[in-house]
Each structure stands twice: as structure tokens, then as C-alpha cells.
């Protein structure tokens, strides 16, 4: 008996020692260099008064099981699978950092758990730029610009972009430096942040600033799946996948646009430090609550202006938030067995009706069904897309939208999803036309990338090329990852313009037009309209 007590006490002592040692270790997902910058950046007096459609941090209103918000294509819905969410003291809804923001600040239910530029502008006017989303750390083009001046926040106000600051050279998960395969030079710095003595690439804490859209914090079971294509080695390049620090399991690497965090939990740890300027260590209870919330919340369009309700029993299985919540994750949908967004024959070939209103509705449904077919079956030549043409399909490859956007119910890549379509790399990235008659100046930074002599050149861009955002390359240090961005989900698109990681497509029309130009698709007017209608109903 005594022996057992001693053993127990020794065990406890060892436990305490281990706990003490663990307390000194950085939490998985923690980013000490970014934290250093986040704590240096100023915090200004912020206020977030309640407003229509806006969730103010700490407002404490319960979030109902289903809630809908209007947008120009109908309504987007948010479904809580766990029922009513008590947001009082909930770490997703409470300001937990220094700048008054909560997770919900940039993941608003009315914007499909992201944040539209239209909402950002509305918030600017409602608060005269005092809402915490305009915090200098990342809601400004660079933290030391004059607060309250729209020019200081131009990328947020015009393109919905927040500053993401990442250490250079890249850091591995254990904090060690990665020797990059390329050098990076700042050739254009309109925000002043990449050449800034305190925040820039040459500062004592070297950091690259890029500007990206908030991603959708919902439907997470789909893009954190452990199904098709998630293995210890990345199917696109054979390199080791990131792993969940708790389970050791490989992650799908589809959470952030550069796949830098492996789990929702580590992402929450990082976001608290970088976006909320939280100066501490998020406790397990709060992290669990954030992850639980994100794991049960779904968002999708729930009604369409032309096609009607997307919450009915006869709604095609690929549409509406109810179908989304009960769908199966981890499935490849680029086939005619699962489909990416399953359609229904009733929408494709609706029964004739004498009622003109129903006829109009049916015409829109038929257009959406045709748009689905454009997405699934309309072939075009996909050329020079890194991590697509290089993974066994050949360059070019005659395929369809669903080749890349193959994740069932999501339209993301089912496997580790970074790819370079040219949204940030020149010559395809959106650039301001320079001529004597245009007074607008380029908004985005521009970096010159030089792949070192001991590695192969980028397969499609060569040894020297230019980018607005090196994307995955800032994390992996790989030359061929520069400009590769993890694709985003297709849900709630109508509620959260602009699109692409750098907000370069202001509307669904501009999004479709980018692909049309990039891949010389040659959509007809009808194909384009059908495709836009399809996307607007997701």
C-alpha cells in the first residue's frame, strides 16, 4: 500500500515536472516571430457598435441553429449542427486579444463566415474606421500608417485584403530556418511594409508582407478530412505532409492559402497571435471551443433570387446548407459516381408549368443545371499550371473545371490543394495598367524571385520571375511553390466577394473571365451566364 502511494506521488511529481517543461515549450501553431511583430504594432482605440447583419465581438447574442442573410443573389444560410450556440464568453465570439477583435470579426455569418468587401466598407462608414477589423497590425497596409485615413487601409477597403506577415527565410514547425531555393527582392512596395525598417524584409525580424482574403471558417469537415489522397507524403510532390502535432496523422493541408497550419487548432493559435494580437497562450478549453464551433458550422446559399428555396426536400443534393451538413467528406467528386456538386434531373428538365412565375424559376434552375455541366464537362486546355500539369496529366491537359476543383461538396482540391493558376504570379496576375491616362497606381507589392542555380528553374516561369504573393513558396522555400495558393471552397460565394486569395476578381463575372482569359477557354455568353448562375447558387 505504502509502495503504491509512493509510486503515485513519484508519478505525480514526474507529471508536474513534465507539465512545467511543456509549459515552456511553444504551443503547436505558435509563431514567435510573428508574435514579436504583432506585439510591436500599435493598438488604437477601437469600437464595434452593433449594426444590421454585423456580429460585434462580445455582443452575446445566441446564434440560432439556422440563420439567413440577404445578398444580391438571394440568401446565404448558416447552420449550426449542434443547435443554438451560446456566444456569451465563447472564444470565437469574444475579443481575446489586445485589439478588440474576435474570430467572428473576420468570419461573419452574413458573409458565409468570411468577410465581403461590401461589408468592410459598410463597417468603415458605420464606425468611421474605428471597428477592430481596421486594426493597424493587419487591417492597415502597414501598421504605422496614419489611422483613420482610408488610404492607410486601401487594400482592405478596395479588395478586402488583410496583411499576412511571414518570416523570411521560412521557419519549419520546430522553429528552425529553412534554406530557401530562391531569393526574393522587393521591386515594388506600394504599402511600404516590405521595405519598412521595423516591419519589412530587411528589419531585425525579417518579414514578408502579403495581402490575402479571409477564408471561410465553416464546412470544415470537408477540408480537414482524412479520406481520399491524405497520406504521409504529398501526392503532388512526394514531400512529407504536415502532421497533426497531437495525433501524428498527416493533414490535408487545405486550411490556409499557403497550408502553413496543419489543423484548426494550430490555426486558431496562430490567428490569435497575428490577427487578434493576443499576448499569451490560449488555454485548451478555449481552443477546444473554437474548434468545436468551427467543426459544426455549415454555410451555403439557402435561397436563390431566380431559382427559389434551396432548403426543400427536392433541392438537388449538391445545393443548400442542409444537404451540405449531411454530405460525406473525403470523397473525390471529379467523376460521374459522386459528382462534385450532385445535380438533379428535376432541375435539368423541369416539367412545363402554366404559371409564368414557376416557368421563370424553372428557367433559372435549368440554367444552373447547365452551369453545373459547364463546370463538370466543358473541356479546355489547362496549360502551365504548377502542381496540376506537373502531376501526371501532361502540359497541356484537356480537362474541365472539376479536374482541379474535385472535392465533393466543396470544389476545393481533394488532395493537398496548392496550385499556381497565375492569380498572383506574373504574367497572369491582375496588374494596374500603366499609361499616361491612368492615375491609379499599382496596389499590390511585387517581388522578384530568382531560383538558385543548384535547383531546377520553375517549370513554367523559368529561373527569374515576378509575383505579388509567393504563396506556398513562403512556407516551403521551394521555387516551384512560388505563387501556388491553396484553392478556396465554392460555398457561399454570393455572400463574400471579392474572390481569389488576393481579391483580384471583384465579382463572379470577373472570376469566370479570369479563367476564360488564362486558359483561352472561349466561353459563349450562355455558358458564362450559366456558370455564374451555378456558382451563385452554391
Amino acid at each position: 500500500m505504502l509502495k503504491n502511494i509512493v509510486k503515485f506521488m513519484v508519478g505525480c511529481g514526474a507529471g508536474f515536472l513534465a507539465s512545467a517543461a511543456l509549459a515552456d515549450q511553444p504551443a503547436p501553431g505558435h509563431v514567435p516571430r510573428q508574435k514579436q511583430q504583432a506585439q510591436q504594432a500599435p493598438v488604437i482605440d477601437a469600437r464595434s457598435p452593433p449594426a444590421n447583419r454585423w456580429w460585434t465581438p462580445g455582443e452575446g447574442t445566441p446564434l440560432p441553429p439556422v440563420i439567413a442573410y440577404p445578398n444580391s443573389f438571394g440568401q446565404v444560410g448558416v447552420l449550426n449542427d449542434a443547435g443554438v450556440i451560446d456566444t456569451q464568453d465563447h472564444p470565437f465570439f469574444e475579443p481575446i486579444g489586445e485589439n478588440g477583435r474576435a474570430c467572428v470579426s473576420c468570419h461573419q455569418p452574413a458573409n458565409a463566415m468570411s468577410l465581403s468587401v461590401e461589408m468592410i466598407r459598410q463597417r468603415w462608414h458605420e464606425t468611421q474606421g474605428k471597428d477592430p477589423i481596421f486594426a493597424p497590425i493587419d487591417g492597415m497596409n502597414c501598421p504605422d500608417l496614419p489611422p483613420g485615413d482610408p488610404k492607410s487601409h486601401s487594400l482592405l477597403l478596395e479588395r478586402g485584403l488583410f496583411r499576412i506577415f511571414l518570416p523570411w527565410p521560412p521557419k519549419a514547425a520546430d522553429g528552425s530556418s529553412i534554406d530557401p531555393e530562391f531569393t526574393i527582392e522587393v521591386v515594388r512596395d506600394p504599402t511600404g511594409c516590405n521595405l519598412h525598417p521595423q516591419y519589412g524584409l530587411k528589419s531585425a525580424n525579417p518579414m514578408v508582407s502579403v495581402y490575402r482574403r479571409p477564408r471561410v471558417a465553416a464546412n470544415t469537415k470537408y477540408f480537414t478530412h482524412q479520406g481520399f489522397g491524405v497520406f504521409s507524403f504529398i501526392g503532388k510532390n512526394g514531400l512529407p505532409a504536415t502532421r497533426d502535432p497531437e495525433t501524428g496523422l498527416p493533414s490535408g493541408m487545405n486550411i490556409l492559402s499557403d497550408a502553413r497550419q496543419p489543423t484548426l487548432k494550430t490555426q486558431a493559435v496562430e490567428a490569435a497571435v497575428t490577427h487578434l494580437q493576443f499576448n499569451g497562450k490560449l488555454d485548451e478549453e478555449r481552443l477546444t471551443k473554437i474548434v468545436s464551433f468551427e467543426s459544426q458550422v455549415y454555410t451555403a446559399q439557402v435561397s436563390h433570387t431566380g431559382a427559389g428555396s434551396l432548403m426543400e426536400s427536392d433541392t438537388p443534393p449538391g445545393f443548400g446548407v442542409l444537404n451540405l451538413a449531411k454530405g460525406r467528406e473525403g470523397l473525390l467528386g471529379n467523376n460521374v459516381t459522386n459528382f462534385v456538386f450532385p445535380m438533379s434531373e428535376a432541375w435539368r428538365n423541369p416539367a412545363p408549368s402554366p404559371d409564368p412565375e414557376i416557368t421563370r424559376r424553372n428557367e433559372m434552375r435549368a440554367s444552373i443545371a447547365r452551369g453545373h455541366d459547364v463546370f463538370m464537362f466543358r473541356t479546355f486546355w489547362i496549360k502551365d499550371a504548377m502542381h496540376l500539369n506537373t502531376v501526371g496529366l501532361g502540359n497541356p491537359t484537356k480537362r474541365t473545371c472539376s479536374t482541379c476543383h474535385g472535392m465533393h461538396m466543396m470544389g476545393m482540391d481533394i488532395v493537398n490543394g496548392w496550385m499556381d493558376l497565375g492569380t498572383t504570379n506574373l504574367p497572369w496576375a491582375r496588374e494596374e495598367p500603366l499609361n499616361p491616362w491612368n492615375e491609379r497606381k499599382p496596389q499590390m507589392p511585387l517581388f522578384k524571385i530568382t531560383c538558385k542555380a543548384n535547383v531546377p528553374p520553375h517549370p513554367f516561369l523559368g529561373r527569374v520571375f515576378y509575383t505579388q504573393d509567393p504563396g506556398r513558396g513562403l512556407i516551403s522555400g521551394k521555387c516551384n511553390d512560388v505563387g501556388a495558393i491553396v484553392m478556396q471552397q465554392f460555398r457561399g460565394l454570393a455572400a463574400r466577394a471579392p474572390y481569389f486569395s488576393n481579391g483580384s476578381a471583384g465579382s463572379l463575372r470577373e472570376l469566370v473571365d479570369f479563367y476564360d482569359r488564362r486558359f483561352n477557354i472561349g466561353y459563349t455568353d450562355r455558358e458564362r451566364e450559366d456558370l455564374i448562375n451555378f456558382l451563385s447558387a452554391l
Binding site: 512526394g238 512529407p240 506537373t390 501526371g392 496529366l393 497541356p396 491537359t397 484537356k398 474541365t400
Partner: protein
């Protein structure tokens, strides 16, 4: 860019002229050509006035994957007696290596012509497949069975290349086997090879490639979590074994996992 091309040319020029490979073999470097068809495109290359069929458009799981426009391709194939496909003499088996340097002159896309439609149904159409993948899963977990105490694996490479997408599967198999067999050591041997071209020239890989291949595989296994194993990493030069037949098979890394 110019410097690299010059270096590559010098490397070729410096290589010894050797005996020609057998007449049934075609080993050459050329621009690939893609021809559209009413289904999937087919890939061709020209050598000494003749057109050769390399492969149709495939997916990630296929044993032979199409080359890339914008790059030359090293073709190592055997002339088969199958009827021509897309107008080209069928090389089968064939190994294709995309040359790493960009070559803007490799840009030929030919339109579909009725006479060049494929005489067979391709394993997968140009759009969605009928099931999951046409040729098999890109990465599969090994079935549970008696785990051998020692097992050998082989990774094959394109010319001058390191690990790429198609190595995810064999690396996963090595990883799974090491875990299941409770392996304690792994022996990794990287090989540098050469290919004897049909014009008699010997095309040798980068001098360091054998070492780089071996070290990379060790790094990747460690990076995936196999940190407890004892690694024995070595490399070997097999450029002298090139004879124009199955030279591609010598560009490899051998991995022996044992308890």
C-alpha cells in the same frame, strides 16, 4: 538560362560516344507534340523523320505520364508491332523524362483530325472519370499481411530528377512497412545513371544526383516521422552500364527496411 543550356550541351559533348543501342529501341531527346482527338489528346515526338506515339493523356495514377510542352523530353522506348496510334509508331514500353530547362520552341499543338481518332476507348475521358481514378489510387496503403523482417523497395526517377508526385506511393509503402515491421534500420542507395541515345551519344546524369537522391529519400522518411531508424545512406555511379536498353530502370533509389 543560356549558361545552363551551355552547360548541358557541354555535358553532352563531353560524354563518350558509345555503341548504338539495338535497332528496336529509340532513345532520343525531342520536343513533344500534342495532338487533339475527339476524346483525349495523344502525345507524339519526332525522331529522324519518323513520328512516334508516346502516350495518351492520362491521370496521376498512370504508369506513363505525358510530357510537357515548353520542355524537351527524353524518350526511351521500344518499337512495338502495334498499329500506329495518332499517326505515330507505338513505343512500348516507353519511359519519358521531362527535361528541366524551359524550351519555348516545344510548342506544337495539332488539331483533331478524323483519321487520327484513337482506335480504342481511353481509360478515362477528358472530363470526369467513371469511378475514382482510371489507373488506380495514387497512394494505397498496403494490405495487412505477414510483415517481412526485411523488405526492399525501389524508386525510379526521370532523368536528372529527384522525388516527384509519383514517388508518394512508394514512399508511403516504405513508411507503412517500417511502422508495421517495427524496423530499426534502413539502407538507402541512390544511383546515378546514363542513357545511350540512338545516335550513339551517351547522356549522363548530373554527377551528384545519386547522392542527392539517396539523401533526399532519407530526409523525407525522417520528415514523415521515421526518426528512430538507423539510416545507412550511400550512392553509386552506374553510368558505365548504359547500353540503350532499360537504361531508365537504372535511375533509381533502393531502400531496404529491416528490423
Amino acid at each position: 538560362m543560356r549558361q545552363v543550356v551551355t552547360f548541358a550541351m557541354l555535358s553532352w559533348a563531353a560524354s563518350a560516344m558509345a555503341a548504338e543501342p539495338p535497332a528496336t529501341h529509340r532513345n532520343f531527346v525531342a520536343c513533344p507534340i500534342v495532338r487533339d482527338t475527339s476524346t483525349v489528346p495523344c502525345w507524339l515526338a519526332e525522331y529522324e523523320g519518323e513520328t512516334y506515339f508516346l502516350t495518351i493523356q492520362t491521370d496521376v495514377s498512370a504508369p506513363v505520364n505525358p510530357p510537357w510542352l515548353g520542355h524537351k523530353v527524353l524518350v526511351e522506348g521500344t518499337v512495338s508491332d502495334e498499329p500506329r496510334i495518332c499517326g505515330g509508331i507505338v513505343l512500348k514500353p516507353v519511359a519519358l523524362s521531362v527535361m528541366q530547362e524551359l524550351d519555348g520552341s516545344c510548342n506544337t499543338m495539332l488539331p483533331a483530325e478524323e483519321r487520327y481518332n484513337l482506335p480504342f476507348e481511353p481509360p478515362r475521358p477528358p472530363g470526369p472519370s467513371k469511378g475514382r481514378l482510371a489507373f488506380g489510387d495514387p497512394v494505397t496503403k498496403p494490405k495487412s499481411q505477414e510483415v517481412a523482417a526485411s523488405k526492399s523497395f525501389e524508386l525510379r526517377y526521370e532523368f536528372d530528377s529527384l522525388v516527384m508526385f509519383r514517388h508518394a506511393q512508394p514512399l508511403q509503402q516504405i513508411f507503412e512497412h517500417a511502422r508495421q515491421s517495427k524496423a530499426t534500420k534502413v539502407q538507402i542507395t541512390g544511383y546515378r545513371a546514363a542513357t545511350l541515345l540512338s545516335n550513339g551519344q551517351l547522356m549522363q546524369e548530373d554527377k551528384e544526383i545519386g547522392r542527392r537522391r539517396a539523401e533526399q529519400v532519407a530526409d523525407l522518411l525522417r520528415g514523415a516521422g521515421l526518426t528512430e531508424l538507423r539510416y545507412d545512406v550511400k550512392w553509386q555511379d552506374e553510368t558505365k552500364r548504359a547500353k540503350g536498353v532499360e537504361d531508365a530502370a537504372r535511375r533509381r533509389v533502393q531502400v531496404v527496411v529491416s528490423r
